[in-house]
């Protein structure tokens, strides 16, 4: 349908790629303007403390300091938040987590700004920190915030909640706190405007949500708060919340000068919400043949000090807690609570990775109890279209869960990797010097589904504006305006592909994403290809209608053609062609009469909130994934090497195979990280490892090549039949690897990430997961 290629379905290269490989792409932290000041943030060292007094006088007196702001300088609403505004812009009377912003400064350079921070005196009265999420709802627990300690409770009851099958398995599982660890730390450039407003260039996931919160806190009308997306170096959920945006705007307005506010890596770890740590208990029962009868779950998610997106994360966790399995009876209970730990919110998978770790461990355990193969027990129970999910929602669209599992199980297994490569391929690599005879191999499987788009009645629409005109050289050109945040996922490529396909024009330009057009919603929830892709497609179709109607009218075609021009005319390869006849007119000639422009707002189908029993029609759609992991474990050192990963995924129609591959490989790697190395550790509420030295990310030496099979059944109600693809593989990679480790060492691993001390016996070891393992102190 396109001119010279570049339409949907092709491996089109990123339009921002040449600048990125040359180092010329400007990330938010690279922005520099004349007269710019450096903004920095002062943070609480205490997880909980009363603020008696803040004295900024000495800091203000320092030469080179242009502005110091605290809670007293917030002109509008004192608090902000994605769902509920419970987080102070700056702590005023009480700090609730270690790292909470207390003040910010703008100075001529970063060095002076740091000196100014050191000169601010804050008189804290430390209070006992509440850091155990299972204690904060107890009678007599301290109330940590005027809104209370409970963000949300969901008590989902489905079928006969106390129905039981003859075979039962139950256990506790613990998931640690993962960080998004995007590579470019937070940054923004705020500039005060002559009209009394403020302009921000910022790396974010959702420009319009930022603007709404900024306007409220700055006491400005929204049209005086203008945001433009700066280059975003990854996000993964960690830029969905406000971090430094309001602080930067306050500083710029106070100083009357542009301020670039930026975090370093430590501040980035402290500054944005993380993935919720979880404590979970599951009980599964089945018939002796292996058919699930009931699933019971109790989930405690630690939301940390402020709400962020905790209520929505819990809804995802509870509604996905039984996994993509048919179960007649379910009681799924969850709470997400406030503590004095770091705030938690959105991260890739959004509540689903945690429960997948639980339900997949349970399915393996059920297989053990039944004497069935782990794949077999899953195949017996996968949901099919028409099945009723635990929420009462009927699974409408095809979900090839069975097929995925069969595909991934059929992939060839890797050969032994004992003494090859001079030891590189053994656990720990060369430095660990594993003894090959003490290495055990294991294979594990995981299956999951993940909701797509926002849930529970949220209308997360997306707006796009498309203009078709003639460029200076007389060639037709499409210009797309969308506020969709490009964070690396490749919307910039997809949008151009869609326009080429719909309008038959080669030359497509994407305007910078900003608040000069309507909201595109958040770049999260696997939603932008569907939602903003749908908006671009709709706007292109409207442009085509208008141009073709104009052409039909001026050509004297029948009224029926003018009224519905796309039934008999279409745009292809730079021309307007009739349904039967050959070329009629060049698009360029048709545009001589003037440009054509249209705006389109795309909505997904409406969903409903959950009722008091957790019942409703909460999710727009689902995507499924199945992973098979193969690991080698050094049973003396407790080191794990992930030898191979196979993934079969429910991808819908593929718009760009290059981008798809990048998403599923990246998603797998983040799940691998959570399985064996990534954990933000807190001690009494304080993060003890907020650096890349201590928070380990998978490297090229840790992540094996992905054996990937895409299942491309179109999603019925989505544009082109697409599905979002980034989240599902993150959910399954972790439990597949953990299952493989269990199989290798014969221990009931209940804690993720799996640490060396969980795999080898150390004297005096104890912890939340406890040394309760049974069945296999001796490696198999």
């Amino acid at each position: 349908m396109s001119v010279g290629g570049g339409g949907i379905g092709e491996p089109v290269r990123r339009p921002d790629g040449p600048a990125k490989v040359a180092g010329a792409f400007p990330y938010a932290g690279d922005l520099r303007v004349a007269g710019m000041l450096a903004g920095r943030t002062l943070r609480s060292p205490h997880p909980r403390a009363r603020i008696r007094r803040i004295d900024t006088a000495a800091a203000r007196r320092l030469p080179g300091v242009a502005a110091v702001v605290t809670a007293a300088d917030v002109p509008g609403v004192a608090t902000y938040g994605l769902i509920v505004a419970d987080q102070p812009v700056f702590a005023a009377t009480e700090v609730r987590y270690a790292g909470e912003p207390v003040a910010a400064v703008a100075a001529v350079d970063a060095r002076t700004a740091r000196r100014a921070l050191a000169a601010i005196e804050v008189d804290y009265e430390p209070l006992p920190a509440a850091t155990d999420p299972e204690q904060v709802l107890a009678a007599g627990a301290p109330v940590l915030h005027p809104s209370g300690n409970l963000y949300r409770e969901i008590d989902l009851r489905h079928g006969e909640p106390w129905a039981d099958g003859p075979v039962a398995v139950e256990d506790h599982y613990v998931v640690g706190m993962q960080d998004q660890a995007f590579l470019a730390p937070e940054a923004a450039l705020a500039t005060p405007a002559a009209d009394g407003g403020v302009d921000l260039l910022v790396a974010t996931q959702w420009l319009h949500s930022d603007r709404e919160q900024l306007a409220a806190c700055l006491a400005l009308p929204e049209d005086l708060v203008r945001l433009t997306l700066a280059g975003v170096g990854g996000a993964f959920g960690g830029r969905e919340d406000i971090t430094l945006q309001i602080h930067g705007a306050l500083l710029a307005r106070a100083a009357g000068a542009p301020v670039r506010i930026a975090y370093d890596r430590v501040e980035s770890f402290l500054g944005h919400p993380h993935r919720h740590p979880a404590r979970m208990w599951f009980r599964h029962t089945a018939t002796r043949a292996g058919d699930l009868v009931s699933v019971e779950a109790r989930l405690v998610f630690d939301g940390g000090a402020y709400a962020s997106s905790s209520p929505a994360v819990l809804a995802n966790a509870v509604t996905h807690a039984a996994g993509p399995y048919r179960v007649a009876h379910a009681r799924l209970h969850g709470v997400v609570v406030r503590t004095n730990n770091p705030p938690c919110g959105a991260m890739r998978g959004f509540g689903v990775p945690q429960v997948t770790i639980g339900h997949e461990a349970q399915m393996d355990r059920l297989a053990d109890a039944l004497g069935l193969d782990p794949v077999e027990v899953r195949l017996r129970n996968t949901v099919q279209p028409g099945d009723v999910l635990p929420t009462g929602q009927v699974l409408g669209a095809p979900l090839p869960a069975r097929e995925l599992l069969q595909l991934v199980a059929a992939r060839p297994l890797p050969g032994p990797s004992t003494a090859d490569s001079g030891g590189f391929a053994l656990p720990g690599g060369l430095p660990a010097g594993a003894e090959p005879s003490r290495v055990r191999r294991g294979v594990g499987y995981a299956l999951a589904y993940k909701n797509l788009l926002f849930s529970e009645g949220f209308d997360d629409f997306s707006v796009a504006r498309v203009r078709l005109d003639l460029a200076d050289d007389g060639t037709p050109r499409v210009r797309i305006h969308s506020a969709c945040a490009e964070i690396g996922q490749g919307f910039v490529t997809i949008a151009e592909q869609i326009a080429r396909t719909e309008l038959g024009v080669d030359r497509v330009e994407l305007r910078p994403a900003d608040t000069g057009v309507g909201s595109a919603g958040s770049t999260s929830a696997s939603r932008q290809t569907w939602m903003s892709g749908g908006a671009v497609r709709g706007a292109c179709a409207a442009v085509a209608d208008r141009l073709l109607a104009r052409v039909a009218r001026s050509a004297g075609l029948p009224a029926a053609v003018v009224e519905a021009p796309r039934t008999s005319l279409r745009l292809a390869k730079g021309r307007i062609v009739g349904a039967e006849a050959g070329p009629r007119m060049e698009i360029a000639d048709a545009l001589a009469a003037g440009p054509v422009e249209a705006e389109f707002t795309f909505h997904h189908r409406r969903t409903t909130v959950l009722d008091a029993a957790g019942q409703g029609d909460p999710h727009v759609a689902f995507a499924a994934a199945a992973h098979r992991a193969v690991v080698d474990v050094d049973v003396d050192l407790g080191l794990v090497r992930v030898v191979s990963m196979a993934l079969a995924q429910d991808c819908g129609t593929v718009l760009n195979p290059l981008a798809l591959r990048g998403q599923v490989e990246g998603g797998t790697a983040q799940g691998l990280g959570l399985a064996v190395m990534e954990e933000l550790v807190t001690d009494g509420g304080r993060v003890t490892n907020p650096t890349f030295h201590d928070y380990l990310l998978p490297t090229a030496a840790d992540v094996p090549d992905l054996d990937f099979i895409a299942v491309t059944e179109p999603q019925p109600d989505a544009p082109y039949g697409v599905k979002g693809v980034g989240e599902a593989p993150t959910c399954t990679a972790t439990p597949a690897i953990v299952a493989a480790i269990r199989a290798a060492v014969g221990r009931d691993l209940r804690r993720v990430p799996v640490r060396p001390q969980d795999l080898v016996d150390l004297p005096g070891r104890s912890g939340p997961a406890g040394p309760r393992e049974h069945g296999g102190d001796t490696p198999a």
């Binding site: 490989v21 990330y27 650096t691």
Partner: protein
């Protein structure tokens, strides 16, 4: 709490200790003055000289986003004292050039989908170009071990490794006897004339 390593001294440190020195950055001589003696090469490049083709991801030498060639050797700019590099030739991705091996690496990163957010990309292009210059036929394990100092959070490394293999394949096909630097000298080395005091005098990027 003020956190992390940051540019410049705080109270109690020797704020007045500043030096003037010279760096040859991407072929251009640059005079550094007014920087604190303890500033890293990364801080001086980005915050004093305004060279943003080198990225700041961790300031601990762990992420590789600030990978540069320092007198021809791969280094994390955040772990080098800028004042110690007085007189050194510093190549960021921009100075590697757009011909030869560096061009091939860039092109294959694009063709194979190795770029997503792209923040790690400049460091990766430097590290990969350096690796393939020294070890053009590096095998799978060597590639993975050698690049373990460069973190990527988006790609899971699959497309990056595919790009590297594609470069190796193309170059093996193009010229089995291809030398270290390749046609056109994609990777400049000390004394080869691409960088140094004979570069464009006094010009800045």
């Amino acid at each position: 709490m003020t956190t992390g390593p940051g540019p410049g001294p705080v109270d109690g440190e020797a704020a007045a200790e500043e030096e003037t020195y010279r760096l040859y950055v991407d072929g251009f001589p640059r005079t550094v003055s007014g920087a604190w003696v303890g500033d890293s090469l990364l801080t001086v490049l980005r915050d004093v000289l305004g060279v943003t083709t080198v990225k700041d991801g961790c300031e601990q030498g762990r992420c590789g986003a600030c990978s540069v060639l320092l007198d021809g050797r791969l280094a994390a700019a955040c772990t080098v004292l800028a004042a110690d590099a007085d007189g050194a030739r510093v190549l960021t991705v921009a100075g590697l050039g757009t011909v030869g091996l560096a061009r091939a690496v860039r092109a294959m990163f694009l063709a194979e989908g190795a770029v997503q957010c792209g923040f790690c990309t400049p460091g990766f292009v430097v590290a990969v170009t350096d690796l393939l210059t020294r070890r053009p036929d590096a095998g799978e394990d060597e590639l993975r071990e050698a690049l373990a100092g460069n973190l990527c959070r988006c790609t899971g490394y699959g497309r990056i490794l595919a790009a590297i293999r594609a470069v190796q394949r193309d170059r093996a096909l193009a010229d089995p006897d291809d030398g270290v630097v390749g046609s056109g000298g994609g990777l400049a080395r000390p004394g080869e004339g691409v960088v140094g005091s004979d570069g464009p005098a006094g010009a800045g990027p």
